[in-house]
Amino acid sequence: MRSHSRNDVVIVDSGGANIASLRGAIERLGARTRLSADGSVIASADRVVLPGVGAAPHAMERLRTAGLTNVLRTLTQPVLGVCLGMQLLFARSEEGSTPCLGILPSAVLRLQSLPGRPVPHMGWNQLRRLKADPLLEGIEDGAHAYFVHSYAAAVTEHTLATAEYGLALCAAVRRGNFWGTQFHPERSAATGVRVLRNFLGQ
């Protein structure tokens, strides 16, 4: 049965090790979290978070094995992909030439290492707002967020915010009820708290 609290968040168990910080951040905002790889639990949640630390091939294999790819594609409630979880929303990833969920068109590509721009892109970077969206309400242009990644999605019509790292990369994205952040809101201090609160208000 669907909860009426609007605070029932299911975090998809995609096999990444680092779920505790995301859970902690969401629970600090008063929401209840459950970790699940069960399609019916995920489908009936008020909100779904697709986390991800690790590599795209491994994560997609986990989702396929658990029979979750179609479940995720057909969700109608607010969904937030975080870091690799955002990348999985795209059509494919260059990481291991992996077909992904295809909720967003276009591909995720390997970041190129440049002088002064080591890869992984790891650390605090500034967000550049492209579009008004409820997810980023209250977030100022230039606000800092914490990034850890070696692959990135290009800027498209669905991009809400970018970060500059040798090139402009997709930092936040939306298509319909699917949102994604390349940065880690659970590790982005006040900026991240605001993003998660905005998501819980959707």
């Binding site: 090790a17 680092n18 779920i19 505790a20 910080s21 902690g24 951040a25 600090r28 630390v53 690790g54 590599a55 290492s113 002064g116 721009r117 080591p118 890869v119 992984p120 790891m122 650390g123 605090w124 970077n125 500034q126 800092h144 914490y146 850890v148 990644h149 070696s150 500059e164 790292y165 880690h184 659970e186 590790r187 982005s188 201090a189 006040a190 991240g192 708290v193």
Partner: protein
């Protein structure tokens, strides 16, 4: 824009200081630290792994990234720490004993989780401005004065090898500068920077705001300090305001 990140290291010996750990973590979070590093300096010499009960509690407190270092000698050790909520694990002496550990950790968790700490100083007899492959040597078991020893490895060779094996970040602890508060060892850092394509964190020597400004100008990605923050000699919020005024890209809260 990429940030000069201010990182705080916290040294601790055992679980009896969990209260102090949580208090410090809260303080540095609120003062605007960009990342915290928790070192169990007794772990590797004693060949025990970090007691992890406190990691869950730190995870619940922090909304900034944190790294755990000390005695991690297997994928299982690392997994327990990452599952408890740490964002990264840092390995030092165990990586020197068993370099394959770097490959195993990077394969399992991704390079972004795998920090290799390098304790380095000038080779015996090397002049102060010496550079090059033979000028700097790696030391291990530096947490225990009785067991500390030269590893026999050149620092530059080891930093190259660690990256080739999958290290996603290098923390260079310049031992001669550590605790002296006379500034980061910029010559040493420049040498290591020249062979480091992943983020490089400077450690050892911070004593003033000017030292931070100089080290960020030298091209490191972040600077780690412990005693100047611990003692209150430098306040992180004040440091970051002054760095920003000096033109360093930092996150000011």
């Amino acid at each position: 824009m990429r940030d000069g990140a201010v990182v705080k290291g916290v040294r601790f010996a055992d679980h009896q200081v969990v209260g102090a750990i949580l208090e410090l973590a809260t303080r540095y979070r609120d003062e605007g630290a960009d990342e915290l590093v928790f070192y169990d300096i007794a772990a590797s010499p004693g060949r025990r792994s970090v007691d992890r009960a406190w990691i869950h509690r730190v995870t619940a407190l922090l909304d900034i990234p944190f790294c755990v270092a000390g005695g991690i000698r297997s994928v299982a050790d690392a997994e327990a720490i990452l599952e408890a909520g740490a964002d990264k694990i840092s390995i030092n002496s165990p990586a020197l004993e068993n370099p394959d550990l770097i490959d195993e950790l990077a394969r399992r968790f991704g390079s972004q989780c795998v920090v290799v700490g390098v304790d380095s100083q000038r080779a015996p007899g090397a002049p102060p401005q010496a550079a090059g492959v033979r000028a700097f040597m790696v030391y291990q078991y530096t947490g225990d004065a009785r067991r500390m020893r030269a590893s026999g490895r050149s620092t530059l060779d080891w930093v190259r090898e660690a990256q080739a094996r999958g290290a996603g970040e290098i923390v260079l602890n310049c031992m001669a500068a550590d605790g002296v508060r006379e500034g980061y060892d910029l010559v040493h850092l420049a040498q290591v920077r020249s062979v480091t394509a992943v983020p490089l964190v400077a450690s050892g020597g911070a004593g003033s705001v000017e030292h931070f400004r100089a080290v960020f100008e030298s091209g490191v990605d972040a600077a780690l300090a412990a005693s100047v923050f611990h003692s209150g000699l430098i306040r992180i919020a004040d440091l970051k305001r002054r760095l920003k005024a000096a033109g360093v890209a930092v996150r000011v809260t």
